[in-house]
Amino acid sequence: MSPQAPIEGQVLLSRTHPIPSSGPPARAWTSSIFTGLSGIAVTTALLAGPVHDAKSLAEWTRPPLTQPAISSARVARPIQASPAQTSAAIVRALHVESGLTWEQLGRLLGVSRRAVHLWAAGGRVNSRHLELLSQLRSIIDDLPAENASQRRMLIFQTRRAEPSIFDAFLRQHTSEEGVVAGTPFSPDQLLSARYDEAGSE
């Protein structure tokens, strides 16, 4: 996001007003995510207007996650927002400024479009989703672009053999999720299973 005045009605966060979260420390997770995403860069070739130089996603990202995504330089005034208002504001700002559809935001965050609608209306958001929101906000915030359209283009743009920011974010946070619970057996385990044989000798 470009350093400009906040959109009317939008609640911007200061680094001195961390996103409420009672979850586990996010620093290690943040670090690992962006280690994975580092090296992905965005070029400006497709952008219509002048933008900043391209830089790595790791550079754009400012850990820790539990801190807000918007730099203090941009904060016009301190806010006293409730957790619901804060998360709702983040979600609405993400939608407006990323250029992503609600459906795409939902995909990135691993939830349905309706869940993002609910969050934008003030619905409760769990700590991990807050972390992901903050993470995503950091990435969007630092894209070298001046408007939502440019940001959207950068989010889906690929560079050489690297995945887009969208796909890299999706891959990274899903690979962090560890053991799959609902169907814990892989196709290989299922298809090669023998019901009650003792095994190969």
Binding site: S21, S22, G23, P24, S82, A84, Q85, A88, T101, W102, E103, G110, V111, S112, R113, R114, A115, H117, L118, W119, A120, A121, G122, G123, R124, V125, N126, S127, R128, H129, T174, E176, E177, G178, V179, V180, A181, G182, T183, Y195, D196
Partner: protein, 342 residues
Amino acid sequence: MHRGGMTRQDSNTDAKNSDEPAPLDNTHLQVIDSFRQGDVVTIHGLPVLGSDAVWSRRTPHGAVLLTQTCDAVRPEKLTVALAPIAQLLGSTASEARDGKLLRYIHVPTASSDAFADLSVIATIDKALFAALPRIAGIDQTDDDAVRKFGRAVGRRFGRFPFPDEVVPWLRPLEVVMQSKHDKNSPEGAAMRDVVELRVEAIGGWQNPPYALTLCVIVKPGVIPTFPDDEPPTCPDDLTTWLRSNTGNLRQTSGAIANRLATERSFSPSSASVYWLWLALAEAWAARCTPDVRKHSSEDATKIMAAVTGIDADLIDEGGFDLYRYRRSEQLDIDHLSPPLPL
């Protein structure tokens, strides 16, 4: 099952000393094709290995075949698994028939009050099974009944063990669901539109504390659909009614369901119905707060530390993708029984 229902049989040392099941002869092979899961046989008892002897669980009403049909009919598989038949009465039978008591599975063709009691399962030689008087326990022409029986067997042993500390978080929702589901109330009606409740632990179940999402999966067509990606505008009066000035939900699930029922009767595809459904899912998630007064101080501390929060996602059946299915667990609330103390 307590030992009052069992009789002592031969001790281990008295039993025939064989490491192998009895082989099948031609007589057995002639009937093996007719074996079906759910078949009921007349047998005096089923063996239970005790610490110093083999006990017999008496089976005055017979025993039911649990082994899947595809294995029961294969001649190279020499054993089958049986469970005793129990006769249940009254509300216990009713709950068991409704699938609310996992220990029991209805065996309808045998008798209206006959249930497989999965608290005891014994393995017997297929040769012995073939020689027992046998009737069908399940109507084999009824595919639904056949599948229902098989899935009930699997359910008893395949449930996901939610972490002990998480169960008290889910218990209040269980109480609401059980108390309202079958009743003619607006919340009960809304619950009957729910196909499944699943719980996601984002980040997995390996490392607490858990950030949970309650996935409320409803029948297709229940949530209004709108022509584009944007959410419909929530009427101002509804917004004010649903949320406080700080944005927090201020209505209970019951109150939301009441208003939802009213709005649905006027316009089932309205924006109000959409937002009320979302709020109802959130209200159900909000129910998931443990009553720590029921626990010791030490346990309460563990319980409260185990979950950082629960949010809600409302999805229709067709929109719940495999990715999320694989990362979530069915909230099979009938057996959320915590082995406390933690």
